[in-house]
């Protein structure tokens, strides 16, 4: 089974909740974790991974380059670039901004001087594999800064995870997605059997989780909700009301607990280092519900 954890908004606790859930499920199930936030990967850190056993470079991003020697400075490339990535430098040369180029090659197609603009393959990042100290494997990715298409890295991560699942006869893939609703999140949600949404009771988090829920619906996946930092905004009932209206079962509520930031500083799941904290008691109940309702 493939379970994706998503939130829309960043910083609501996806990785911390995921790390503790993995910790609670690891003894009963054969798991693999996928950190699908390729731009800001944190799950490996939280699970104490310091060294990666295998690292694969991902060469896939494409970047246009302009040969200033043969360039006739007609400016057509700049006019036609859909993302306004071509600028003129101090010496009057047309230059592609490599940190914003999407690699669509339109500039190369419209350039009147053959061979002046070429599309070059560059490294987009790395994908890594490790065994956590808890015994289950993790796949993580890191996009190089300023590169496009982090979604492709996530798709590749999941392919690698599937391969490992086959080789090692694993049962479940837990995918910790990125914030937002774009390519990384679509690559994370696509192909999952179930989505667990995490939100906090604030208008911003509600707005973002509603948006990611639409993406989940697009893939016809059943969704569940965990309410994190449940007590930071007393009187805010809209999150629960929304879940009820949409028929999204609430798996549980986790109170704001200083044990969580403390555990983050120790780079450990909070359930491991503060097993008696309020948050840990809540997540234990949530894990039980997940076993009964989702994994079965």
């Amino acid at each position: 089974m493939q379970i994706v954890i998503a939130s829309g908004k960043g910083g609501v606790g996806k990785s911390t909740v995921t790390a503790s859930l993995l910790y609670l499920l690891k003894d009963e199930y054969r798991l693999i974790a996928v950190d699908a936030d390729a731009e800001a990967p944190n799950l490996g850190l939280l699970l104490g991974v310091t060294e990666w056993e295998e690292e694969r470079e991902h060469i896939g991003a494409k970047i246009a380059r302009i040969n200033t020697e043969t360039c006739v400075r007609c400016g057509i490339c700049q006019m036609r670039c859909p993302y306004e990535c071509i600028y003129v430098d101090d010496e009057g040369n047309y230059v592609v901004n490599e940190l914003t180029c999407e690699g669509c090659n339109v500039c190369g197609l419209v350039c009147p001087v053959p061979g002046t603009i070429t599309l070059e393959q560059v490294r987009s990042g790395v994908i890594r594999r490790a065994i956590t100290k808890y015994g289950f494997p993790i796949i993580s990715a890191q996009l190089d800064v300023g590169r496009p298409e982090s979604g492709k890295l996530v798709t590749e991560e999941k392919e690698w995870a599937k391969q490992i699942m086959k080789e090692q006869n694993l049962e479940h893939m837990i995918v910790d997605s990125a914030a937002g609703i774009g390519c990384q999140v679509i690559a994370s949600v696509g192909g999952a059997d179930v989505a667990i949404l995490i939100a906090e009771p604030t208008p911003a988090s509600l707005s973002d989780v509603q948006r990611v829920y639409k993406v989940v619906q697009h893939f016809h996946e059943p969704a569940y909700l965990i309410i994190n930092k449940a007590d930071i905004n007393p009187g805010f009932t809209k999150l629960r009301e929304w879940a009820e209206e949409e028929g999204i079962p609430v798996l549980g509520e986790i109170p704001y607990d200083s044990a969580i930031p403390k555990s983050m500083s120790m780079l450990k799941p909070f359930i491991e280092v503060f097993p008696e904290s309020k948050a840990s008691q809540a997540i234990r109940e949530i894990a039980e519900t997940i076993k009964e309702e989702i994994i079965k």
Partner: protein, 287 residues
Amino acid sequence: MQIAISGGKGGTGKSTVAINVAVELAKKFKLILADLDVEAPNDHLLLGVELQNEEEVNQFMPKFDYSKCIKCRKCAEVCEEHAIITLKDGTPFLMPTLCSGCRACEIVCPVPGAIQEGSRLIGHTYVTPTPYGFTLVTGKLREGEERSMPLVVAAKKRLKNLDYEILIVDTAAGTGNTVSKAIEGSQLLIAVTEPTPLGIHDTELILQLGKLMGIETWVVINRANLGDVNEVYRRAERYNAKVIAEIPYSENIVKTYVSGTPIVTTDYPEAEIFRRIAERIYEFLRG
């Protein structure tokens, strides 16, 4: 003058810093705040305003006229996104969600009129007046759309027609090319971080981006009492970035955050920290 507020990791407080600084600086400058976190735009919620003046962002999509198409497959070959597939006989079909709207297919098609102008709605931009004397420009990607870049570009284009002295840009989380597109053009980058190992790890990435882009970078440490700030200072120094403020975790900040009231408009003691950040920026702007 353009200032970007970013941070690598999600949820570190980028938007909180952006809206409060905007409210303060709008007292002195004609200002626009641009919410370029197009996958999860929240600045309007934090400011307690409803998005206004909606404009559609439509993206080019090829529409094949099969009576003219000669099935040469050139459109499919040139599509970097593999959004066009061809049947055995060469008939092209489009997979709309993969299409980036770049027009490469249209450029290479040898038959005039075989590829016609189609379009798809991929999101919206908004221009919203706020009660704080500045205008909020927002880009919002439609759910199910994969590419945030076109929305960032569309929101920045809409900005160009507006009059302002200072532009504050609030970016998405991460360090990919849509974040650099949002930051592009800034004279100052403010990275909002938190002092946990995760926050520090991601801050390092945004500091790298600032360095690559050659932009002066400052660091604001949010929830400063929840971790080891010294480590943030060390990392910042490595990238020649100044730490300009520490904001403690505070229930007052949470309270104002959820109620859609910028904290600088209140008497809470924490308001002063944000006012001082705005003051630092004001000094930077005056040179």
